[in-house]
Amino acid sequence: MNFDQMLDAWKAQDESPLYGVNQDLLRLVLQHEQAEVRRTLRLEQWMTYVAGSIMAVLAALVLWALAIFRRPVLETAAAAFGTATFAAWVGAMWHSRRRQARREREFGNTLREEIHRHLSLIDYRLSLTGRWALMAWHAPIAVGVVLILWLSTAINTDTDPWFNFWLALVMVITVVASASEASRKSRRELEPRRQHLRELLDALEGSE
C-alpha cells in the first residue's frame, strides 16, 4: 500500500460508516431526557419536603400553643389536622418516589429496557398531573393557606370575617389554578414524548 492508496481507503470509510448510529443516539437522547425529567421530579420532591416539613412544624407549634394556653376544641382540632396533613403529605411523597425508583430499578440496560424505564418515568410524572392526583398533592397547600388565614384572624379580631372568607377563597383558587396550569403544561410536554417513545419502541420491536 502506498500513501495514495492509504488515503483512498481512508476516504472510502465515509461512504459506508462503520457502525449503526440510530440506537446509540436514541440511547443518548433517552438518557438525556431521563435526566431532565428526574431533575424536575427531584425539584418538586424537595419543594414538597421542605414546604411540607415547615408547615407541619408550624402547625404543630400552633397546636402546642393552643393546647397549652387556650384549649379551644375547634382550633386545636384544626391545628392537629394540619399537622397530620402536612406530615402525611411529606410521607406520601417519599413513599411515592420510592415506589417509582423501585419500579425503574426493575428494568435492565438494554435499549428496549431503557425505553421502558423512560416510559415508566413519564407515566409516573403524568400520573401526578391527573385531576385527583393534583388535588391530593395540592390540598395540603390549600389547607395550609386556610389555617394561616384562620390563625391571623384569631390574632387580629378587627378584620371583617367576610373579608377573611373571600381572601381565603381567592388564595385557595389561586393554588388550584396555578397547580392546574402547571399540570397542563407538563401534559403538553410529556404526552408527545410518551407517544414518541411508544413509536420508537414499536419500531425497535418491529425491526427485531
Binding site: 502506498n2 500513501f3 492509504m6 481507503a9 470509510q13 465515509d14 457502525y19 440506537q23 440511547r27
Partner: protein, 169 residues
Amino acid sequence: MQDGERNRIFEGWIEAHKAILFKVARAYGASHADREDLFQEMALQLWHSVPAFRGDSAASTWIYRVAFNTAIAWRRRERKHGKGRQEIEAASSLLAEPAVRDPRLEWIYARIAGLGEIDRSLALLMLDGFSYRDMSQILGLGESNVGVRINRIKAALAAQLAKEEHDEL
C-alpha cells in the same frame, strides 16, 4: 436557543458528519465498548456545544474540535478510572462491527493508535484533508508546530509503509 432548534442542528450535524465521530471514536477507543462509550460522550458534548457554535468556522471543524477535546479528556479519565470494561463489552451489542473489514483501514488505525494524543488528532485531520490553518484552529496549536508534527507523522507512516513493503518482498 430553543430546545427544538438545538435538536434540529444537532441531528443535522450527526446526519452529515457522523463519520467524524466514528473516526475519532475508533482512533481513541481501544475496544468496541470504549468506542461506543466515547461515541456517546462525544455526541453528548456535541449536543451541549450547539448553543456555543457561532458559525465562524465550518461545522466539521467545530465537530472535530469538540470530538478531540472530548476524546482526550475521556482517555485521561479512562486511564484513571477505567475498570470493569470487559463486562460492559460483553454485554454490549449496540454497535455492530462491520461485516467486512478493510485491512488497509485496520492498518491505518493501528498506526494512528501508536501515536500520542495530539499527533493522533493531527493524523485524523491530515487524512481528512484539513489545511494546517484549520488544524491549528481545531487543536489550538501554532501553524508552524502543526507543520512540523504533520511532516513527522507523514515520515513515520511512509517509513512504516516502506518497511512493510520491504518485508513483504
